[in-house]
């Protein structure tokens, strides 16, 4: 896969998925605490989302950060717009803004969700790594 193809794939993933999370690892097996925390917030809201592991190829992260002008991972996009990384997503979860942004109800009595995530309801992660062979 060329770098241009990776960039096009990322753009398509952002454009076509209502809720798109770029992370290290997968929602089932996050490879970084920040990614785990962000996925846990989405899981706690019970929202469907797509996730892409950026680890299989360093160019994924490079192209993503070039597109988003955001230096770190994870990155959460809703309707094509960057919402933020782990800190912003966690803050927005706590204040209820994340539920508003996603159009779902805030779970009552839930504090900051603690990783590792429990059984997660989201759709399967996109398999970019499968296209890199």
């Amino acid at each position: 896969m060329t770098t241009d193809e990776i960039r096009a794939f990322i753009q398509q993933a952002i454009g076509e998925n209502h809720v798109m999370l770029f992370m290290k690892g997968t929602p089932e097996q996050p490879m970084c605490g920040f990614s785990a925390r962000t996925a846990a917030a989405l899981n706690a809201l019970g929202v469907e989302y797509s996730a892409l592991d950026i680890l299989p190829d360093p160019r994924i992260r490079q192209e993503l950060s070039g597109l988003s002008q955001w230096p770190t991972i994870p990155q959460l996009f809703v309707d094509g717009n960057l919402v933020g990384g782990a800190d912003i997503v966690t803050e927005m979860y706590d204040t209820g803004e994340l539920a508003d942004t996603l159009g779902v109800a805030q779970p009552t009595g839930e504090q900051v969700p603690e990783p590792p995530a429990e059984e997660s309801p989201q759709t399967a992660p996109l398999g970019l790594e499968n296209r890199l062979g």
Partner: protein, 79 residues
């Protein structure tokens, strides 16, 4: 390897009037947490606030500064 003191100085120098509390989360000089209070954040979205702080370090964030966790507030928001 950056230290929490260096990060604090650089943030405060780049955002005049700001105060930054910086912790080295692992002691390894690559995972930091910064709580920054600045009037420059007034009227800005969280994304734009975080970008202002990330911009202080350019390519170092994601490079030698592996992770920089941020909390950004205006003075009014902290009181």
């Amino acid at each position: 390897m950056p230290t929490s003191g260096e990060l604090k100085e650089r943030i405060e120098a780049s955002l005049p009037g700001s105060t930054a509390e910086v912790q080295d989360l692992t002691g390894g000089g690559d995972h930091f947490r910064a709580e920054v209070v600045s009037e420059r954040f007034e009227g800005l979205s969280r994304i734009d606030r975080h970008r202002l702080v990330y911009d202080v370090f350019g390519d170092e964030v994601g490079g030698p500064i592996h992770a920089l966790s941020l909390k950004t507030s205006t003075l009014e928001e902290t009181t």
